[in-house]
Symmetry: C2
Subunit: 245 residues, 2 copies
DNA sequence: CGGGGGGTTGATCTCCTTCAATCAACGTGG
DNA sequence: CCACGTTGATTGAAGGAGATCAACCCCCCG
């Protein structure tokens, strides 16, 4: 279920330069090292339920998690996609506002809330980085508002694929070499929850983009992108949107 | 056009206890006092265009502004509604990401970006408050994602009215006494841009809510709410959502 | 009195949802 | 090895919520 055994050195950590600890000096890092602990979750496992008491915060180290909201009648909207280095939890809040679910096997680097908040008060570098990350998330949320409010189903799918491509590229710092390709970390239903669509519409639009040669599929999850500019055009973004090129 | 003349004492400021300066001690406040300046804008005036260089940040003191994104073909989505005490601009970013527009006559308390960033580095209270405010905005944005992605037109209208009522109540700290009533600070078209609808649909749904007795109209802008619980129910929110009651 | 901005209402259309059938991949147990 | 159930995905047909196009109203102001 959970694995508290592994304990990686912060200096070896794959998300060292992007996570909430990115700005920390080595002495600050060693203090964090002392209070951190790892937790593992299986694909499909719920990490926290909305409304639950939440006594920790943490960073996604490997794997992918989602933030979702659910209405009483079951309508669901995903409000965040958490990739490695993303932060979970809110300092100063004791109750979770969203469901957090692991969509793949997941490892998180956690801190109990109280020690982390104390550390934050004493370590401006952490608060600074957290502010940066929160502002980035706010930008992403606002970009998503445009998508949800105004884009067509086809544009939504194209946007989702290009955003995943962009984030993956940013994470691995690898230049798009030859044909770009991405793994969709979500099922059709999860995509639908993210995009404010039904799973059937997601499936239809993916098929349509494939038929029109905008993407190619290899299995259900793996997408190849012969022409990234074409995809961005289909997404309806301003041409420069991605800084991927 | 712009009025740089007035200069209110921070201690007298109506947004003193909610804005980015809320946590400042009196000595910190007097340093802010020295670098602040006021700017006034007329209703309808654009404060900043997306993509423009932006060399200041600031707080809305009085009036209402909006943040909007526009696609190449003209589709518009509002991504933020700025009420008094809300913060405009992003430290560490020199180019505006959204159009900012005054929808009413507006007064802002501004700081040139560089001095403000310096001040932020030296004054944890400011960065702390800004982090709090940004996290609140992120929550609001995520609530809006649920609205845009999953709510019906009727639910969207009911949600908008209840959110404005909630924010107005929070600002004036007045208990809902007798019949609740709010002024809509937006035209039908602006509401449509906020809700991801057309102005015609907004108009129709407002009429429908009126016909069903959920709201009463007095003129086009003034809304009376005979039963706030009924409105919240129409909004599709979890019953406790507003903490207004 | 004319004109324009904001708002309402009506008729039609369309894109997406809904409901449903089918399929492919996979594991399980007889 | 094959019948069976399950899960995720695709495809089809029908219906509906909201968009689109258009007419009209109200009120203020020059």
């Amino acid at each position: 279920m959970q694995d508290h055994s592994t304990h990686v050195q912060c200096s070896e950590c794959p998300i060292r330069h992007r996570a909430v600890c990115a700005k920390c000096e080595s002495d600050e890092l060693s203090r964090l090292e002392q209070i951190k602990y790892y937790r593992s979750f299986q694909a499909g496992q719920t990490i926290i339920w909305s409304g639950d008491r939440m006594d920790f915060v943490g960073s996604v180290v490997t794997g992918i998690a989602t933030l979702t909201q659910t209405m009483e009648d079951g309508r669901r909207q995903m409000v965040g996609l958490l990739l490695p280095s993303d932060f979970v939890g809110r300092p100063g809040r004791s109750v979770a506002a969203y469901d957090v679910t692991a969509t793949t096997d997941l490892v998180m680097c956690c801190f109990r809330k109280k020690p982390f908040e104390d550390m934050m008060a004493a370590t401006p570098h952490i608060a600074q980085r957290l502010l940066e990350m929160t502002l980035d998330e706010l930008d992403a949320a606002r970009e998503w508002m445009l998508l949800l409010g105004r884009k067509t189903a086809r544009e939504k799918i194209a946007s989702l694929i290009s955003i995943i491509a962009r984030r993956e590229a940013a994470l691995h710092l690898r230049k798009p070499k030859g044909m770009l390709s991405v793994d969709l970390p979500l099922t059709r239903e999860e995509m639908a929850d993210y995009l404010g669509l039904t799973l059937e519409t997601v499936s239809r639009q993916i098929s349509a983009l494939k038929k029109d040669g905008v993407i190619a599929l290899e299995g259900n999850r793996h997408v190849q992108i012969p022409d990234i500019d074409r995809l961005l055009e289909e997404a309806g973004d301003d041409s420069d949107g991605g800084m991927l090129v």
